[in-house]
Assembly symmetry: C2
Homo-oligomer: 403 residues x 2
């Protein structure tokens, strides 16, 4: 996929470099700089084996309440996960060195890592590059930034939108990486989104948490969750738009919509780059008791190896969809279930559909983008999840990865 056009976001500069976590010649270091007064919010992995950089960001976002963030440092090639106190010390030394360069406190520096688990971060690889990286900071380095954070990704990922806040144009730009919800022990989904809107840290955190649910948390490649997953959202306030301190403020209506769009766009790119994926599949559950229940059922379908291999085989295997609905352990009415592939009913009212047509189904399943809609017949709540198929190539990539 071609990298989309991302315009500069006022107050944000960035530079990349080669820290040398990879033996071959590629950039693997990204530094971003933010002006005074910027807000920051984040969502992190719920994996109990969280990495040292995740620990760092969580702790310091709490301490600063998201105020005054000045820099972000990201490296690919080493996740610095499962590295104990030495790993935490390495993160601190990186933040301290960046703080000195950028004239800020170390706690105003956010850090993210992705790569092999269990290897201690050699922080000097990063810190010795800072003198050459800093002078190169530019407003316009999105494509390079997106490339520098890639691991097993096959293309760099970015999204951009503009929104009106009280009549003033603000910009939203984001990049992310991840190939598979978790790219193996090259752990991690990382996403960084910046805006020049002026939004208080609390409001920013609320938006971040709210929109993660139906974007990054609504995509799945293999159901595995990384030790390093990180989404950071930064607002520089340099657009000239008025400062807004409540997420629900009516003046943010357009911004909210555009922000969700950018997050969803990035999340979809992760699925499209899912390891070995050949299909992009939207699973929608309707008729559930609650949105959380609809999500859990959709997720059970999207994560089932039997459902995913059927997609790979272009097989409208609705029996496996039923199995996955049933194993979700959520309220459903078995005798009202309906299952639709695109516009074609497979099952209706708890039985095979009277209009079921194998030829139409087979033709539909050859599409590269598929939609499966399931009604579970107990309520009015609905939710969608995006996933990909499970192919021999996935097994190949992940069976051969370290060897």
């Amino acid at each position: 996929m071609p990298f989309p056009t991302l315009h500069p976001v006022k107050g944000v500069t960035m530079a990349t470099g080669r820290a040398g976590f990879y033996k071959h010649d590629r950039e693997d270091l990204l530094v971003m700089s933010f002006p005074e007064g910027a807000s920051c919010a984040g969502v992190f992995t719920r994996n109990a084996v969280g990495s040292a950089p995740v620990d760092w960001c969580k702790r310091h976002l709490e301490a600063t309440k998201g105020e005054g963030v000045r820099a972000l440092v990201v490296n690919a090639g080493c996740a610095n996960a499962f590295t104990g106190k030495p790993g935490a010390d390495a993160v601190r030394r990186v933040a301290s060195a960046v703080g000195k360069r950028f004239d800020c406190r170390q706690r105003d520096v956010m850090v993210a890592s992705t790569g092999v688990i269990g290897v201690l971060l050699d922080d000097t690889k990063i810190t010795q590059r800072l003198p050459e990286v800093e002078p190169r900071l530019t407003e316009d380095g999105w494509a390079g930034a997106a490339r520098a954070i890639m691991t097993t990704d096959t293309f760099p990922k970015g999204a951009y939108a503009e929104a009106q806040v009280d009549g003033v144009t603000v910009r939203i730009a984001g990049i992310c990486k991840g190939s598979g919800m978790l790219a193996p022990d090259m752990a991690t989904m990382l996403a960084f989104v910046v805006t020049d809107a002026a939004i208080s840290p609390t409001a920013l955190q609320n938006l971040c948490t709210l929109y993660t649910r139906n974007t990054f948390n609504a995509v799945t490649v293999d159901g595995d969750t990384s030790t390093n997953d990180t989404l950071l959202l930064f607002a520089t306030g340099q657009s000239g738009a008025p400062k807004i301190s409540r997420a629900g403020d009516r003046r943010l209506a357009d911004f909210r919509e555009k922000l969700e769009g950018v997050l969803l766009d990035l999340a979809h790119q992760l699925v499209r780059d899912g390891e070995g994926a050949t299909k992009f599949v939207k699973i929608t559950v309707t008729g559930a008791e609650t949105p959380a229940s609809a999500r859990k059922i959709a997720r059970s379908i999207a994560d089932s190896p039997l459902v995913k291999t059927a997609f790979a085989g272009e097989d409208a295997n609705w029996g496996r969809i039923l199995m996955a609905i049933g194993k979700a352990d959520e309220p459903i009415d078995r005798d009202s279930i309906g299952v639709k592939f695109g516009p074609h009913w497979a099952a209706q009212d708890g039985l095979i559909s009277p209009t079921y047509d194998e030829a139409k189904m087979s033709a539909y399943m050859k599409n590269q983008e598929l939609e499966v809609t399931v009604d579970v017949g107990v309520g009015r709540a609905t939710s969608s999840v995006w996933t990909c198929d499970l192919t021999k190539r996935y097994v190949e990539i992940n069976g051969d990865y370290r060897s």
Copy 2:
């Protein structure tokens, strides 16, 4: 694998036949007969889209309290799942016809089905075979019985043991089918175990529930759960051993051990026949807060596609094991975690092991049987789960299944 020797169990006779659910020439019908006074207990799928035969068995075991069961009818080739009221009516007609032949009430007939989901059972295929099947009932038809219930299985599965109850020898024989925890929409794990010990239905149900936990519920191929999973346990009381009415009775000590052995043996055969499997893997979690917590962590490891593809690639990828521990959402101490492949430590005390040796690891991973032991450092509870690897062949089998 060669079918083991299963001796007759007093009071149990069986016969097989060709009902014709398959187009090719194979037996797909099993009938078993039990004497008056036999006890029955069962454990069934928790899938909310349970099949008509599962509904039937659950309802009637409850009504009869497990007393007076006289017959079991099993068919392969049609799961009779997601077939609504017509499916329930078909089961009732089968039970009624068998009841007339065996001179018992229809509720004393247990029914199990396995095969394609969403296809209504043609009960006449079964009932019209009864006249020719009944005269062939024999004490000694285990191998044929195990074969008649197979679907995608590559070998028939059976296990046998003898135990002493109060100085009297009793026999335990069991057969099962399943290739994959769920063999696709050829849904199902089915297991039938009989003994000539004399055990009250309540005691039998307690034993059945207790030992399922660490046997059939401790194996996983793909984490998917069928609509038809059924384990039925029958006790004829014809051995001459005294009747026992409490599961905890000391006279059952040897029987309990042998029964668990038979169930575990059968469960292991399911994993060994896992679709596309090339490795048989035991995952043991120690140092957990509770056995349930240990089980959940072991299961999270055993079901992770990234862990399973690593086994397929003979890769001692302990980073993925850590990821799977962390995502289980159970109490662990990250900085005390230990991970061992066979006798070789990969991680100790929350860090890569000082004795880690890639060459030894690689050599170990070439074994066909693997053991992974994980200590999570918060308690003393332990649990084991058995699984297999995730191979390209699994994707092939399940991607090409219906087409």
